[in-house]
Amino acid sequence: MGFLNNINFKRLKEGLTKTRKKIFDNISEAVSGKAVLDETVLDEIEEILISGDIGLETSTKIIETTRNQLKNINDRTYENIISNLKLVMKNILLSSSNPDISNISKDKIAKYAPYVILVVGVNGAGKTTTIGKLANKFKLDGYSVLIGSADTFRAAANEQLDIWAKRANVQVIKRNPGADPSSVAYETLSYAKTNKIDIVIIDTAGRLHTKQNLMQELEKIKKVIKKVVIHAPNETLLVVDGNTGQNAIIQAREFTKFIEITGLVVTKLDGSAKGGVIFQICSELNIPVNFICVGETMEDLQSFIPELYVNALFN
């Protein structure tokens, strides 16, 4: 639980400030001028939600739910509208029943050791960087951590992972470019087993979800690592670039068809992008957001707490 007690709220808020400013300054602009909630206000809210990549369908749902709740309430002040909207949005993010890996207990890790985390995603989402930060977090929590470099495709993937591993002070198992990613994963787990490693993180090559053969490769990795560690992978994290629009939902859907995704990591939220697609991914696919990245340093990987996220957006 170490780093959980250590959440850098300030950084999270700083990172989200631009996001917050964008969406919710606009919302307050939209609602504060009017005492009574009318259709134009809701239309304006729709624009603001959609501009935050929440998507037309989900935005419409959020607004409908809020509107229904407000029907029975006479108090339609700005504060009340916002707190209702906030509640509706928070509930969506809390709706996933999947456990949150950032919340994992020492007992659970001890029970499974090696606890295996597979990290997947499209090209350029930020998988390797996320893994570096993740390894660092777990290491600081006092676990022994091993990384498997199963991205044998991209040029210099090994080197990049090496540098992150050095920063986090953890070991990497790697093979030459072009090697079978499954075999690297296999060797990583064998090594972890012999050396009693607590947590294994496996990096994979970026793959577009439209590439059938690459997606099947994921299935194979899963099959092969099960031969060493029957419960592997304990978690499969999908890394999504926070700049991504509605395609992120399709990515999540497609990856899910080949490998069970247990959680999301949303990266690059320190820009002006809002990452609003997570609302639909949570509600439609029951995949919770486990972590968000709000910067490039080690501390910028934050455990995702829906309440905090939505509140940070509104404050």
Partner: protein, 444 residues
């Protein structure tokens, strides 16, 4: 590529097909649907709104001529608007006629700059330019290694300074190096940066001041959502880039950000990039993209791709053989190899009009081609030239040799026989007449 958008527009347009004149009422539903389509495609909210207004004002009151349906009319209007919005023309790279052409690549993290810089280098090298790649990403771990590896794959030298953390100096030094060593083109790969990061935006401005690029290209992930307009605008305000590169178009993104960015910064989209192989780069053609969005396919791209990859002499040979009914397994194998050079089967078929939307859920497996290849390669030369001699024991041997089942072998031989029959038919008089009819067909 943009099949989803096409599918939905088709659905919306069906609603107004078969009505006499376009009115506020009969177009309302369709416009709402088009708005939904655009928003789902990540077209920026405001851009989508403007687009709908434009389409509406152009469509209202239009009398539907007897020869076209309202659907076709609206399609035409949307097509024109889309093409207009995305550029209305294609814009080529400009070169420095007297000195070194410097191309500076900028963009957010993970947009695909490094991969694209190698693709661009290969593309320009093929155009007989003497290209130097500069590794000016001093932040991302192993970014320099990545570019070096890619450079050696495509045979383009990479300028780097391992110890240096000064991207401005590296960039300037690379130009000097290029001058001394006879390069006429330098492509500078810079670090990914967020448009809100003032320090890094200052750095890119400084690089621009120092090297005075001929072209600055903004590289953007085609899956980007609503915020594309913000990052594009901020980069444009800082470095006033000359063009846009859309990457990862081989995903199923609907690429709405192409519309948005063009609308906001009014710079042309110059390249689209798909796939991880160094030759998967194409010039951007707004008309084709618009046509593609509307489900009319992209035959021109397909033809160009084919021209690039197919050896014209081999093609002539093949044509001759076809005309003489001498098409054998060896020719078939050659054909498969040519096709493979052009890219994945699915991406090729996606360019064929009318097929794009239908392919969406089908599994076209490139492995099938490999299977066919392996079977043919397990045949003797005699067997390839004269498939008639393929008896049971030969087929068994081929199956074993190629690691396929005997059924697979039988199927291929049967299909090949049918193909030969078809070729014969086309060579007959009636076949030729049929082909001529095809040539005269006009595609609306």
């Amino acid at each position: 590529m943009l099949e989803d958008l096409t599918l939905k527009l088709d659905k919306a347009l069906k609603k107004i097909t078969g009505q006499g004149r376009i009115s506020e009422q009969n177009i309302a539903d369709s416009l709402r649907e088009i708005r939904r389509v655009l928003l789902d495609a990540d077209v920026n909210y405001k851009v989508a709104k403007q687009f709908i207004e434009d389409v509406k004002s152009r469509a209202l009151g239009k009398e539907v001529l007897a020869s076209v349906t309202p659907g076709q009319l609206i399609t035409k209007i949307i097509y024109d608007e889309l093409a207009l919005l995305m550029g209305g023309r294609n814009a080529e790279l400009s070169f420095n006629p007297s000195g070194i052409t410097v191309i500076l690549l900028v963009g957010l993290q993970g947009s695909g700059k490094t991969t694209f810089s190698a693709k661009l280098a290969k593309y320009l090298a093929l155009k007989k330019r003497n290209v130097l790649l500069t590794a000016a990403d001093v932040y991302r771990p192993a970014a320099v290694d990545q570019l070096k590896t890619l450079g050696s794959q495509i045979g383009v030298p990479v300028f780097s300074a391992e110890e240096s953390k000064d991207a401005i100096k590296i960039s300037a030094d690379s130009i000097a190096y290029a001058r001394e060593n006879g390069f006429n083109t330098v492509i500078i790969d810079t670090a990914g940066r967020l448009h809100v990061d003032e320090n890094l935006m200052d750095e890119i401005k400084a690089i621009k001041e120092k090297v005075k690029p001929t072209e600055i290209l903004f590289v953007v992930d085609s899956m980007t959502g609503q915020d594309a307009v913000n990052s594009a605008k901020a980069f444009h305000d800082s470095v006033d880039f000359d063009g846009v590169v859309l990457t990862k178009l081989d995903g199923d993104t609907r690429g709405g950000c192409a519309l948005s960015i063009k609308a906001v910064v009014n710079e042309p989209i110059k390249f689209v990039s798909m796939g991880e192989k160094p030759d998967s780069i194409e010039l951007f053609h707004p008309e084709r993209m618009a046509a593609r969005i509307l489900g009319k396919g992209d035959v021109v791209s397909l033809v160009e791709k084919a021209q690039q990859q197919i050896d014209s002499r081999e093609a002539e040979d093949l044509e001759k053989k076809l005309l003489e009914n001498k098409f054998d397994f060896d020719d078939f194998l050659k054909q498969i190899k040519m096709l493979k050079k052009m890219g994945s089967l699915k991406s090729l078929l996606g360019m064929i009009p009318g097929l794009g939307t239908k392919l969406k859920d089908s599994d076209i497996d490139d492995k099938q081609m490999i299977k066919v290849e392996s079977i043919i390669q397990s045949m003797t030369i005699k067997e390839r030239q004269n498939p008639k001699i393929l008896n049971g024991s030969r087929r068994k041997r081929i199956a074993r040799g190629s690691g396929n089942s005997i059924q697979d072998v039988n199927r291929l031989i049967k299909q090949f026989a049918e193909m030969q029959k078809m070729i014969k038919m086309f060579n007959s008089k009636s076949g030729k007449k049929m082909m001529n009819n095809y040539k005269n067909l006009r595609i609306n």
